[in-house]
């Protein structure tokens, strides 16, 4: 198991360098000058322009800028935002818990709904229940997040008044962030009702963000289950007279889970992409919205730092998924 872990960790290092180069170069390929852009219609005098170029380091060759940046990153310094002048790592740390909270809720929603849907569809193959669940999941998959989110808000928040429109907590509660995770912070606070408020605020963003992964997981579970259900050992299990539920849950599902877990791992990347839209619509103070804003303002250090950190997290999760295979399937664990 340790060898397996080390091999996987070894793969992460070149990926890390690849990401830094990609992020750095891509930003400089955008034909735009952040200084000109910020000056806008009023324009900027050449002397001040030169000063700012120097301050941002734009007066040096790109290669020098890159290695300078890389040096900082290796020491845990992602630079300072052009806009707020605050360290990027500090802003990331403030906002990241909100994204994690939403992403965990989203993936839980996707798995809790998607997995059973897939199983139900598989054991009812060809029947109306199969068609129903699969059309539902196709609809979910095809729905653009911003549209789906607005529909949810208009129906559940504005028309029915069941859920709040946006934000993480009702403004009547005053909570100083301790962990940054609103559910935990409200739970440990003295404010009565704050936890419920936080929970209610989480419902719609979770559905909006979790719908696409849910649909993918449902479809993947269905096809994986169908494949496994056709295997001979399932027939043997059934022939032995095992309870049908036991055959499905223990013999079939466990073996069908490997590709499903891969898909769940891959959905983490999808979740972060979805978080950008979800966070903007639901005014969710996470890193998705932060990066979009940085892009609009050409705040290079924030864009670079933000994407790099996301890449890190996605790599970490995928490493975890790889390790999970080992836990679920001993053959993978022992393979050299």
């Amino acid at each position: 198991m340790l060898g397996f872990l080390l091999r996987r960790l070894g793969d992460v290092i070149p990926t890390f360098f690849g990401v830094t180069i990609l992020v750095f170069l891509m930003i400089h390929l955008i034909p735009s000058d952040p200084i000109q852009m910020r000056a806008g219609e009023r324009s900027i005098d050449p002397e001040r322009y030169a000063e700012l170029q120097k301050e941002y380091g734009f007066d040096r060759p790109l290669v020098v800028q890159y290695f300078d940046y890389l040096g900082g990153v290796l020491q845990g310094d992602l630079g300072e935002s052009f806009v707020t002048k605050r360290p990027v790592i500090e802003e990331f740390a403030t906002l990241f818990p909100a994204t994690i909270e939403l992403s965990i809720a989203g993936i839980l929603f996707a798995v809790i709904i998607g997995l059973p849907l897939g199983v139900i569809a598989a054991i009812n193959r060809g029947k109306w229940l199969d068609h129903l669940t699969m059309s539902l999941s196709l609809t979910g998959y095809s729905m653009p997040i911003f549209w789906w989110a607005l529909l949810l808000i208009m129906f559940f928040s504005t028309t029915l008044g069941w859920t709040p429109v946006s934000g993480r907590l009702s403004i009547m509660y005053y909570i100083e962030p301790t962990t940054g995770f609103m559910l935990i912070d409200t739970l440990i606070s003295d404010e009565k009702g704050a936890f419920i408020s936080a929970l209610r605020h989480l419902i719609l963003p979770t559905i909006a963000l979790g719908t696409i992964p849910m649909a993918v997981i449902a479809r993947m579970t269905r096809s994986s289950m169908l494949e496994v259900l056709g295997e001979e050992y399932i027939r043997v299990a059934r022939a032995k007279g095992l309870a049908p539920m036991r055959v499905i849950m223990v013999h079939a599902l466990r073996n069908a889970l490997i590709p499903v877990i891969t898909v769940i791992g891959l959905q983490v990347g999808v979740l972060f992409a979805g978080a950008i839209l979800t966070e903007t619509i639901f005014s969710w103070p996470g890193i998705g919205k932060w990066i979009v804003e940085a892009l609009n303002r050409r705040d290079y250090p924030t864009i670079q730092g933000g994407i790099l950190m996301i890449a890190f997290v996605v790599m970490g999760v995928n490493l975890l998924v790889d390790l999970m295979y080992g836990v679920i399937n001993p053959r993978i664990r022992h393979k050299r």
Partner: protein
Amino acid sequence: MKANFVKAAIGAGLLAATALAAPTAASAKTLVYCSEGSPEGFNPQLYTSGTTFDATSRNVFNRLVQFKRGTTTIVPGLATSWDVSADGTEYTFNLRKGVKFQTTDAFTPTRDFNADDVVFSFRRQWDKEHPYHAVSGGGYEYFNSMSMGELIKDIVKVDDYTVKFILNRPEAPFIANMAMDFASVLSAEYADQMMEAGTPENVDLNPVGTGPFQVVQYQKDAVIRYKAFPEYWEGKAAIDNLIFAITPDSTVRYQKMKAGECHVMPYPNPADLTAMESDGDINLMSQEGLNVGYLGYNTQKEPFTNVKVRKALNMAINKAAIIEGVYQGAGVAAKNPIPPTIWSYNNDTVDDPYDPEAAKKLLAEAGYPDGFTTDIWAMPVQRPYNPNARRMAELVQADWAAIGVNAEIVSYEWGEYLERTKKGEQGSFMLGWTGDNGDPDNFLAVLLGCDAVGSANRAQWCNEEFDSLIQQAKTTADVLERTRLYEEAQTVFKREAPWATIAHSIVFEPVRKEVVDYKIDPFGGHIFYGVDIKE
């Protein structure tokens, strides 16, 4: 049995959901403003965006002189009066006594506001050797872009309640500049304490002002909480708490307003305006913006060097169709380069009529009977003065085609667009301007003065007669005389036609019915002192 269970479960769920529907919009005297984004920081001297000014200068700080709420009129602020020397180069401000600074967790003031605070606030921006100059990145973009650095010769504390600004040249718009956001006054005592503690940047993160509201809590991208400053020199604000609920999506802001989760929201989505108008809970306020959207001609490039060509093209443009198609009715046709809300606006100007036949004739007179080929540059971004430059360019293209002028539409990424138009690569181009200080100089000199050619004067237009008028107006303190000069300058502008003035946009602000005395700020700000909520 099973069906009953499901029914019961749904019923219980509904009940729970209804019971949990928390009281929205908050209790009495708390005003919630659904702002569009996070401020860049909490010191208005360092930034240029309206979002930052709303969160800081417009509600937390004061300036020596201020704009009367809802107008561009300058009234006394932290200065009770001011004198200008005969040669127009010395401005002496008499400061208000008894003004308190806010008390925060980090700072308890031991003295009232005085001249030291004014000197600190301006020296920090002006003097490169000042210990605070480089703190928090030290970019004073607005101060510099208004040329304050080169304009000010010295800032002198005459006594505790008198400050003198000595200028390098007479500059009548100086007083209007002093009402701008960057001219906000910070506490020198607080700054000294923070410098001693080794944390000078705290001054820019945890603001201490003299204004009507003080910051209580800020959570990036989520919320800013303010409370009314009880010792505010104009009297405590009518509302007790002010909350900025940061909501970037305009449609969601509207949904929040409908659900009663906010009282005031900026920048509504044009598509929602009709629904807002018919909404009984919402009062949709509107006002002409302090802006102008125009189509400029590169007057140093053939054939736009010829005034007849420029006039002919102006006459070929159907402005009414643009206002309908591009502004969706939320704009008024512009005939002058300054908006009608600015003093000295020349009402007597006669706009170029929409007359394609006459335009054709004029073009023939200019030596282009068969028209010519050119380009129209369209901005890639949406701006308050032009919601859709691409669409506008298409309409103008069609209008010009009718008189034989074939124009190709060109666009670049925004930064690139600004840089290239500055250099004069374009034939004709779309752009616009939103006023900074309500002074006509801020439009006429900045955008059309000879000094500005190669920078913000992208029409590259330098007309001696026009320039001499605006230069005279700059050095005259007499407002009546300045008005006369600017009116005359507008006549010259219209005759020479370096731009086709297209429109002034209309600003919309939906506020809930229970909000009393909210006023639209001509500068695009959101000011909550003087606003109340009906019980």
